[in-house]
């Protein structure tokens, strides 16, 4: 796993990115209060690239992709910025055109497989309806292809499963069925929103393995949204870390794990138990909760939970930029970044 794998950072000049999120902001308006869930987020995904988005609940990582998919409620939500897919702005696209892209070009796998599947419609119909919507095919052919898809996604006895309802399947099987639906039309981009969070630990690994295999085989690009750095470590080419609606650090995977610079990323990595460290070394949890907040317009939003915060952190809109001692594809939004460690 060396530099050749990290196409994400250097490929920008060579070819057009598949998806470019450009200064995307999402504001929820509830009565008189406003919540900015996503605050000027930009990142891009190259064809075939796997991009990880890491953050805790409320960091805006899911809202970002829901916004680009046009799946946020129309009322009470304000979305600004641009999302270019193959050069086309998705946000200014009409509903009809967007619906055409969804499921065929850009597909999505959600977190909770039981609530994400319609309880009163057989699995087969739920897979086949994607095919019937986006391709010129007959009902019979779509059903036959669904069997094939379910089998490829590792569902045993797919002919029987086709007629069953979601409640008759196990959690892992349901998630596989959801993945089958997402991949039905061979999308160019697959967005996975915490696809393994609701699953048992043993099943998690299987599903991740399956996803990796499927996207690598077909050259599908993927955005993997997760709060689990373990998922990122095994899967992603490039990683964006989000906190309180903004990206705080962005780097190729190797670089990020080797030299985490933002104090939040640093804290995240320190809070993971590691087998390669001496026993008895205490874990370092991040103090406080995501509720200890301050807005980016006033200070670094992570400062209230940061052991290294000083008065200098209280300044509006700290920029996301490469540090003097970090590579250009590794921007950080931090006043007191962690030292580059060698070892």
């Amino acid at each position: 796993m060396t530099q050749t794998q990290a196409q994400g950072g250097t490929a920008v000049t060579e070819r057009e990115p598949l998806l470019e999120i450009d200064n995307l902001s999402v504001t929820f308006k509830h009565r008189r209060s406003q919540t900015r869930a996503v605050d000027g987020v930009s990142y891009s995904v190259d064809p075939g690239e796997i991009v990880g988005v890491v953050g805790e609940s409320g960091s805006g990582k899911s809202v970002t992709v829901l916004a680009l998919m046009g799946l946020l409620p129309a009322r009470g939500v304000e979305v600004t910025g641009q999302v270019r897919y193959k050069g086309q702005d998705l946000l200014s696209m009409g509903d009809r055109a967007m619906a055409k892209l969804r499921g065929s070009e850009i597909a999505m796998v959600f977190q909770d497989p039981i609530s994400s599947l319609n309880p009163v419609v057989p699995i087969g119909v739920q897979v086949a309806e994607v095919l019937l919507t986006h391709t010129k095919t007959t009902k019979k052919a779509a059903m036959a292809e669904s069997v094939d898809l379910l089998r490829r996604c590792g569902i045993p006895d797919p002919e029987r499963r086709l007629k069953e309802y979601p409640h008759q399947l196990s959690g892992g099987m349901r998630q596989r069925a959801l993945i089958a639906m997402a991949l039905a039309c061979k999308p160019k981009l697959l967005i996975c929103d915490e696809p393994t969070t609701a699953l048992d630990v043993t099943i998690q690994a299987q599903v991740l393995e399956l996803l990796k295999e499927l996207v690598t085989d077909s050259g599908t690009a993927m955005i993997m949204i997760t709060h689990d750095l373990g998922v990122v470590a095994g899967l992603c080419d490039h990683v964006n870390v989000m906190y309180s609606g903004r990206i705080v650090e962005s780097a190729p995977r190797q670089e990020l794990f080797a030299h985490p610079r933002h104090r939040y990323t640093h804290g995240l990595l320190a809070s993971i138990p590691r087998l390669d460290l001496p026993r008895g070394e205490p874990l370092q949890p991040i103090p406080g909760t995501p509720r200890d907040t301050i807005t980016w317009s006033k200070a670094c939003a992570f400062a209230p939970r940061c052991r290294h915060a000083t008065d200098e952190c209280v300044r509006p809109d700290i920029p996301l930029e490469p540090l003097p001692d970090s590579p250009p594809d590794h921007p950080v939004r931090c006043v007191h970044p962690a030292e580059v460690t060698h070892g």
């Binding site: 998919m69 959600f110 994400s116 319609n118 309880p119 994607v130 919507t133």
Partner: protein, 340 residues
């Protein structure tokens, strides 16, 4: 599925048993002695003696109860003291009219209620939604017979200056001058069966106003239930999945939203049968519609308890049956109940 059905039917037995006990206690606690209560104030001593003999009112209580249940099972609700006719016979003769009316009312409520509730939920907070919610509140707070009178005055009798609105018949099930053949006593059906289409049309015209009046309450309830249920479903993850799949909005509405949202609505419709039948008492009397409702209305006004008793048994049975059917139907449409 079969076991579910059998279990459900067996569950009805204790309910019917309990009902018979309640009815028996009720009959015994009516003012005066039971025979007089059944026969009314002006009963002759011979008639009272005959009723006492027939029902065994002079025997020990337990035996009386057994006799009473025996009679109920045979469908013998006694004779109406007013007309002297057996209650059951009159019921059977008049029941089709009420079924016709109730079905029309329910049809009206469902056909208008479900789409309206759905549209209101889709644009929750909009003008249509506000209007629908307000109107459905109005439907709940206006007494049924008041609405019935209002409809009758405006659309049948005619208000001064608004005579042109009065285009519908004001009472009865069919215009008397129409010489229609009656086979089943469902007048609309009869007209269609015998090919007397003008008779069927006439019967339909007579149904419109009573059906709207009677349907107003289930309409209000169905609208609100559908709206609430659709709102819930619209927030479900699987609807978001369906949208993420890029499905056609119509398909999302039909397959993913409505199919789930209508489950609780089905139960609500079943639970409306009772209210529908007692609403028929008021509506039928306003429109002089000869069903069991107006029969009961006359009975209540005359304190004719034999009819009231029969009516309660009858309604409880119909209610139990309808809800049984609804439960079975529910099992059919909700796979989670069907398979386990």
């Amino acid at each position: 599925m079969l076991r579910f059905a059998v279990r459900r039917i067996l569950l009805m037995i204790p309910v019917l048993f309990g009902l018979s006990v309640l009815l028996f206690v009720w009959l015994r606690s009516l003012p005066g002695d039971p025979a007089r209560a059944l026969l009314g104030e002006k009963a002759t001593p011979e008639a009272i003696a005959r009723i006492n003999e027939q029902y065994g009112f002079n025997q020990p209580l337990l035996q009386q109860y057994v006799t009473y249940v025996g009679q109920l099972i045979r469908g013998d609700f006694g004779n109406s003291p007013r007309t002297g006719e057996p209650v059951l016979e009159t019921f059977m003769l008049r029941f089709p009219a009420t079924v016709e009316l109730a079905v029309a009312a329910l049809l009206f409520a469902v056909v208008i209620g479900i789409p309206l509730g759905y549209l209101a939920a889709k644009r929750a907070g909009g003008i249509l939604d506000t209007l629908t919610v307000s109107a459905s509140l109005g439907g709940v707070v206006i007494p049924v017979f008041v609405l019935a009178y209002l409809l009758k005055v405006v659309f049948a009798v005619g208000l001064p200056g608004l005579k042109f609105l009065a285009v519908l018949p004001s009472s009865g099930r069919q215009t008397v001058t129409i010489d229609a053949t009656h086979v089943t006593n469902f007048y609309v059906l009869d007209g269609l069966l015998t090919g007397e289409f003008d008779a069927a049309w006439d019967a339909i015209l007579h149904l419109i106003l009573p059906a709207i009046a009677l349907g107003s309450i289930p309409l209000a309830i169905i609208v609100r239930m559908t709206r609430a249920s659709v709102l819930d479903v619209l927030h479900e993850d699987y609807v978001r999945t369906a949208r993420a799949k890029g499905l056609d909005p119509g398909l999302i509405s039909r397959r993913h939203v409505l199919r789930n949202a209508l489950l609780p609505v089905t139960t609500t419709i079943g639970l409306q049968t009772g209210a529908l039948l007692s609403g028929a008492v008021l509506t039928e009397s306003v429109f002089a519609f000869n069903g069991i409702g107006s029969y009961l209305f006359e009975a209540i006004s005359n304190l004719d308890f034999a009819v009231l008793q029969g009516f309660i048994v009858f309604i409880a049975l119909v209610y139990a049956l309808v809800n049984l059917v609804v439960d079975l139907l529910y099992g059919l449409i909700d796979p989670r109940l069907r398979t386990r």
